[in-house]
């Protein structure tokens, strides 16, 4: 495309090239991830050189040749890269793909045979939140190799076998590689308006007045709404909870009296363009009387703070206390007792695509359509219905075909969702809201940030007799529907003992309100449980002078006996091999050899460390775990419809946004029914089209529960097909198999009949078709455990405090792997997110409650230069029951922080340094070194 021909007008003098390409040239592959020149998602080629098009004015590109991913048809190199990226499973959600494609294209044009280091350095300016970069870097290197041999792109060929266990090519990738993907920010409707929220600049303040008239007078503005407009037209937002003792405050989408965090929405401006809405939002005059921010969660838990909501007595939303075993005796007879306060900084999910939705109310029918980036459209629908006072049947929620990552944050239903839908209903026009990066970082939601006091009683030989844990979770200013964070408190209670034998266990947990951004679920919301458990094991082992991995091994839960359980009562029958990943990790790590290397390095002033940590992972966990928690997300429904043509539809409540569900669920059906993947279509993301479930994607449900439901439903279809084939051919059904769209003999593989023919003859009637329409609801009652062990080797620079990861190994047992390429991507992507929360990611707050990470220059996401290559070993152990799949999306993120912190501590332990915190930027390491005998560190070798 040549912008020379497009005639930029002076009125658009300050439109960015990114907006110009997206809005006026339909180049939607140019994605807006930050609009601050950091993420690289909007990378384009200008005269063959890459640029971030959000930092270039369209006018500056006048007369230049501008190319985007949509130009691949005319560009063999770009096409070649697309094919290799597809074949190599380079991407997950695809939001970053077009930018990385173009940056790689430019690299190979300048340097046809780059080294891995050069690829990493080149791509370090393009953020990917899903993959951990390893798959992308590998794909670029392979593309360089193959281009050198054959410059003509070859269509990728998947593995011959496409069923369970095959690295089948993902059905998801074609669209985002070609630039055909459609994310929520790409949606458009005739007459659509654009919303922009006015947000509080104060962490805590009383609103003294709001004057919207200057904004209303601004050009292109259609309406400005405040809490006063909404009052009386909506039901209050209340977050329900199955756990007794939970209190939810009642609140509205827009605040009119008091703001409770920096970013709290107070008004919604609706205009005919995003820019006009943003301009006008700056003209809404809000008077604030600043109040002292409530930031001390511990003081809130103790009842020492002024309630943030008038109707509440204090700031405690939930408190629980449970004990298992004889805790008093455990402590009374202890040879020694260790106490630690373990804490974490807040971090953020921060998918490259922020939140957004497009509400379209039809006044003629009274129906509301809401297209939203959501992990659970049914839960969005239910919640919107409740607050808007509409019948659920009048609301249709759809998730766009593509969603740019989530990691938990889009599992929430937000006040902004309600306000945007309400505005569409009030105005009778479509209203779209796309969050910008600053809003996302400050106002969408943050995670982690918990604190736990651990008290552990030991026998003379160091064996754990009893453990007490007291947890405080900072909910921030508002609970986020639909799941009350009290559930996460209870999950931490159940998972804190991890894989270990703890005869007596006492837990207390409190969930409190503060003037921080609302707390949301983030990839493994129990991460604090694992971090606290693993920190505790390391700290005890160091106290005892024992090898930490060995200390863990001697505390592994016994899984013999008829009903092995965790101390909190969850059944472990699903994991007869519990501990195998730790045994293997201990051996893979070569601990003894490493200790020699470590000692040698120390004598040269170098600091090496090894951390080995392990995780018993609910994936999603048996019902007995849900019972122990006190909350259950329910079984997973799936509907399979086999057409008499032999084409299969899988309708699921799962919402893929990087995990490849379209592919993995199809593979399960393909294996069972002998169908090629191209004959299988997964339908998802539309409340009008999929079976009802409030759970959606989350809590590692897809593989085990949706996968299990697909497996069982396909088996039922298979039985029906084989019965019909048996009747027709005279063979007993067990002598028949389905393969490649045909009915074959098990004995000799001979083809007895083709599937479409069989279907036509026996099922092409109303009754027959009904028999090919199968709904299966799978509860996975006794299944659901996975486990993993991470081994991490680090080197700490004693002068600069920087930590570099020298090697990283994951040993995972997630049952049978459906697609190894997708599984590895999930493990790596998760681990990289966890690693980053130790080394550089932090949602910081000043002592005045002001947010310190308001852009991607302060909230530091991993880049291709900051992440290690991650080696993976799958154990794939056989599981009891008929569904062998277990989840693996969360464990990487959950276990990695403890492995990295353990490794750093191991490098510094000889100086007396013990770590009870997660966030360890170089300046923190320097502080620790300065406080602990830095004179024992040899000066740098010159």
């Amino acid at each position: 495309m040549n912008p020379r021909d497009t005639g930029f007008t002076p009125a658009d003098g300050s439109a960015t090239l990114a907006d110009e390409l997206r809005e006026r040239h339909g180049r939607k592959s140019v994605r807006l991830g930050c609009e601050e020149g950091v993420c690289g998602s909007c990378t384009v080629l200008i005269d063959g050189q890459t640029a971030r098009s959000c930092t270039v004015l369209a006018a500056q590109a006048t007369g230049c040749e501008v190319r985007t991913a949509e130009d691949a048809a005319d560009d063999p190199q770009l096409r070649h890269l697309q094919e290799v990226f597809w074949r190599e499973h380079a991407f997950q959600c695809g939001f970053c793909a077009a930018g990385i494609l173009l940056e790689s294209r430019a690299l190979l044009a300048e340097n046809p045979r780059p080294t891995e280091e050069q690829v990493r350095a080149r791509l370090a300016g393009n953020l990917c939140r899903c993959t951990g970069y390893q798959s992308i870097v590998r794909a670029v290197l392979i593309a360089a190799d193959t281009l050198a041999i054959d410059p003509e792109p070859q269509p990728p060929t998947g593995p011959e076998h496409e069923g369970i266990g095959a690295p089948a090519l993902r059905a998801e990738d074609r669209a985002f590689l070609n630039g055909d993907a459609r994310y929520v920010g790409d949606l458009d409707l005739p007459g659509m308006l654009h919303g922009r929220f006015v947000r509080s600049p104060h962490p805590h303040a009383r609103i003294t007045g709001i004057d919207v008239s200057p904004a209303l007078a601004a050009p292109e503005v259609v309406a400005v709404f405040t809490g006063a407009d909404l009052a009386g037209t909506l039901n209050p937002i209340v977050v329900g909870c199955p756990l007794p003792g939970y209190t939810s405050p009642r609140f509205a989408p827009l605040e009119s009296e008091q703001v409770r965090f920096e970013g709290d929405p107070v008004a919604l401006v609706v205009a005919t363009s995003t820019r006009a809405a943003e301009d006008a939002a700056e003209r809404v005059v809000v008077g604030y009387q600043a109040l002292d921010p409530v930031l001390d969660a511990r003081a809130c838990a103790a009842g020492d703070t002024t309630p943030l909501f008038e109707e509440m007595d204090g700031n405690v939303l939930y408190a629980e206390h449970r004990a298992h075993g004889d805790i008093e005796a455990g402590f009374a007879g202890a040879a020694r007792v260790l106490r630690h306060r373990i804490r974490q900084e807040r971090a953020q999910n921060s998918p490259l695509e922020a939140r957004g939705g497009l509400a379209a109310f039809d006044p003629a029918t009274g129906r509301l359509g809401y297209d939203v980036a959501s992990q659970s459209p049914n839960s969005h629908r239910a919640f919107l219905a409740e607050v808007l006072g509409l019948s659920q049947e009048l609301i249709r929620v759809r998730v766009p075909r593509n969603m740019g990552g989530s990691f938990g944050i889009k599992g929430g239903v937000y006040r902004e969702d309600v306000a945007v839908c309400w505005a569409s209903m009030r105005l009778g026009r479509p209203v779209r809201w796309i969050e910008d990066r600053r809003e996302h970082l400050t106002a969408a939601g943050q995670a982690r940030g918990e604190e736990v006091d651990i008290e552990v009683a030991l026998d003379a030989d160091g064996t754990i007799r009893a453990l007490r844990a007291a947890l405080i979770v900072d909910q921030g200013a508002y609970p986020v529907p639909p799941i009350a964070s009290a559930v996460f408190v209870a999950i931490v209670r159940c998972l804190l003992p991890n894989s270990y034998r703890i005869p007596a266990y006492e837990f207390s947990g409190r969930l409190v309100l503060t003037n921080r951004t609302p707390y949301v679920a983030y990839r493994g919301p129990w991460e604090m449980a694992t971090f606290a458990a693993e920190r505790t094991m390391d700290l005890i082992a160091r106290e005892l002078g024992e090898e930490p991995a060995d200390y863990r091994l001697r505390h592994l839960l016994p899984v013999c006996g008829p009903e092995p359980r965790t101390v909190t009562g969850a059944l472990l029958t699903d994991l007869p091999q519990l501990g195998s990943t730790l045994w293997l990790g201990r051996s893979e790590a070569g601990v003894e050899t490493f200790r020699k290397e470590q000692a040698g390095a120390r004598s040269e002033g170098r600091l090496l460390g090894l951390g080995i940590t392990t995780l018993l992972e609910p994936a999603p966990g048996p019902w007995s775990l849900s019972e122990a928690v006190g909350s259950h997300m329910g079984p997973e429904p799936v509907r399979l419809v086999l057409a008499p043509t032999g084409r299969l539809e899988i309708r699921t409540a799962q919402i893929p946004h990087g995990q490849g569900h379209l592919t993995t669920l199809s593979q399960i059906a393909a294996s069972t029914l002998g169908l090629p993947l191209r004959e299988i279509e997964v339908i998802c993301g539309d409340t009008a089209e999929v079976p009802y479930s409030l759970a959606g994607t989350g809590a590692s449900r897809a593989a085990a529960l949706a996968g299990g439901a697909v497996l069982r439903a396909s088996r039922r279809l298979r039985e029906r097909l084989l019965t019909a084939a048996g009747l027709e051919t005279g063979h007993p059904p067990h002598e028949l198999d389905l393969a490649a769209g045909q009915v074959v003999s098990v004995a000799n593989g001979s083809v007895l009949t083709d599937l479409p023919g069989l279907l036509r003859r026996h099922f092409d009637t109303p009754e027959g078709r009904a028999r090919l329409d199968v709904t299966e609801v799978f509860d996975g009652a006794e299944t659901g455990w996975a486990e993993a062990t991470h081994c991490c080797w680090v080197e700490v620079d004693p002068d600069l405090g920087t930590v570099s990861i020298r090697r990283y190994v994951i040993i995972a047992d997630s049952g049978r792997i459906i697609n190894p390429a997708i599984a590895d991507g999930q493990l790596r992507g998760g681990a990289v997110q966890g690693i980053a929360t130790v080394l550089h990611e932090r949602s910081g707050y000043g002592s005045d409650g002001r947010q310190l990470s308001t852009g991607l220059t302060e909230y530091l996401l991993p880049t291709a230069l900051t992440v290690p290559d991650i080696e993976i070993v799958h154990l794939d152990s056989e599981r009891p029951g008929d569904v062998p799949f277990r989840g693996l999306g969360e464990g990487g993120a959950v276990l990695a922080p403890s492995a990295v912190v353990a490794a750093v501590e191991d490098a510094l332990a000889h100086l007396g340094i013990r770590l009870t915190e997660r966030y360890l930027p170089p300046w923190r390491i320097r502080e620790l070194l300065a406080a602990h005998q830095t004179d024992t560190v040899a000066p740098e070798c010159r």
Binding site: P10, A11, G13, S14, A15, T16, D19, E35, E36, G37, G40, T43, I46, Q49, T50, A51, R52, C54, T55, V56, L57, A59, Q60, E103, A106, L107, A121, R122, A124, G125, N126, R275, E278, D279, D436, D799, L800, G801, T802, L839, H840, G844, S847, R850, L852, S853, G855, T857, E858, Y859, L860, P862, T863, L865, T866, P921, P922, W923, E940, R942
Partner: protein, 291 residues
Amino acid sequence: MKLPQIEYRSPVRLCDAVDLLAGSDQEAVPLAGGQSLIPLLAARARRPRVLVGLDRIDGLSYLTTSADFLEIGAMTRQRTLETDAAAAAPLLAAAAARTGHVSVRNRGTLGGTVAFAAPGAELLTAAVALDARLRLTGPGGDRECDLRSWITGPYTTGIAPGELVVGIRVPLRRGRSGQALQDLSHPIGGRPVACVAAVIDAEPDGTVRLAEITVSSRASAPTVVDVTARLADAEEAAAETVSLDGPAIAVETNGPPAAYCRDAARVLTRRALSQAITRARLLPEPRREVA
């Protein structure tokens, strides 16, 4: 966020650009590569009425060597410096290569870097270390000054209203010289924490004639310390240039605190000095390999 409505002008003659800038009383700002400015405009942190694009002005993008100077035009892209300046000014090329990412360097310019004066900027640190001269033009005509004295602090310079940076002149070093650049960013490849350039000029017999350390950090603008007579305490002298309570770094930040920037400056000085000494004394052609 989107940029607000701002008038964009793209004069083809330098004098027209100066007229636009001078006539507007701070409401017009020059737009070079835009890599820092455009995000600031989108965040509405700066609100000019007019942007004066410099892309179309002839004669602002050049890299030439005269008898005594390497002459670099203000609109020379950082990427061009990285790839084309290695022979004449290896320290500048190395600093350019450490600036942002390729897609940023493709747009970002030398003049923009100098005029923006971001603390910790590698390219600015190198230009200051090499004692570059600055060429400016403005309503009062052309002038030339020392870059070192023109940079007055983080994000602040001696630029006069309506003035534009036209180029810099980097003195070519004669004789035996060693230069090295050491920088630390957080995380690796991210924003600079500190950047140190060491320049050593030596007599033919290897005696150090001049040793200068230029330090900049997230907390401080580039500052030159002459350590010729006190190589032994160069690290401390360099570290002291990092202000612990300067305006550039908030007391509370999500990034490195000033004390850490000072720590880093000390370590980087040690490393840069050692590298520069090695290069000045041992390498037959000292300017071939730097950083």
